[in-house]
Symmetry: C2
């Protein structure tokens, strides 16, 4: 019941871009260093986010990446779904196209999975990158000496 590193690293990267929103393109290398992620691996994740329209890229020297829209317009849910696919603790309750199950109409166990899926969705859809940036500034103001990425 864990997220893979796709979702985890991906959110870290998007959060990093949110912290640096408005500063022009941020290089992959910088993000990877700050977030301590293999840069080649992160490249693949960012490619997915770019194709999904969450991130824009600038090629060539002085290029890099930036959020495609402002941090308050991007939710944690969009990011995680883009990288991990439709959410749900079981195939039969996956968002969008739950795979068919003979018993779906009357499966009591399924009711449980559905409740779990909904509660996860509620959490991740209610948190925007801006919320995370706000948390960052709160933490930063409390302990000046620490590095909060």
């Amino acid at each position: 019941m864990k997220l893979s590193t796709k979702g985890r690293y991906g959110l870290k990267a998007m959060y990093d871009l949110a912290i640096n929103y408005g500063e022009g393109p941020i290089t992959l290398k910088n993000i990877a260093e700050r977030q301590r992620i293999s840069d080649h691996y992160l490249e693949q994740l960012i490619a997915t986010l770019r194709k999904a329209g969450l991130v824009k890229s600038v090629r060539g020297a002085h290029g890099g990446y930036m959020l495609a829209s402002s941090p308050d317009k991007i939710t944690v849910g969009e990011i995680i779904r883009t990288l991990e696919g439709p959410l749900g603790p079981s195939e039969c309750v996956l968002e969008g196209d739950p795979s068919f199950c003979d018993n779906a109409e009357c499966c009591v166990t399924r009711v449980v999975w559905e409740k779990i899926r909904i509660s996860i969705s509620e959490v991740i859809d209610s948190i925007s990158l801006q919320d995370m940036v706000n948390d960052y500034h709160k933490l930063k103001d409390k302990d000046h000496y620490m590095y909060y990425i």
Copy 2:
């Protein structure tokens, strides 16, 4: 972000035992057939549940399994944790002993994982096997012709 079949089959099996609570020992073969699970595989899951004290066994001919306590005393959370281990979308927020992270005190991403973990816990700890049995009876009363396991 899916549960493995351990948690999914395990809950199905426990639900089956809850439906048949008070009827004496239920054989593994019966459970496996009703729930359409490989019996040898289910055996391993039930062994785990038995060692955790959620299920009692009766050996020999006419033996089988039964819940160790009444369905209202057993939650979905106990069952899933027993089979899947401590819950959490990321190592750093696992229940019980979150693995150490240099950044834990000030990691904004971690705050998100913590919220997900808590919301999942709230759902699974609030549902007992008795709740599932009640759902079963409600469904059964509505559509008499279907087989609700």
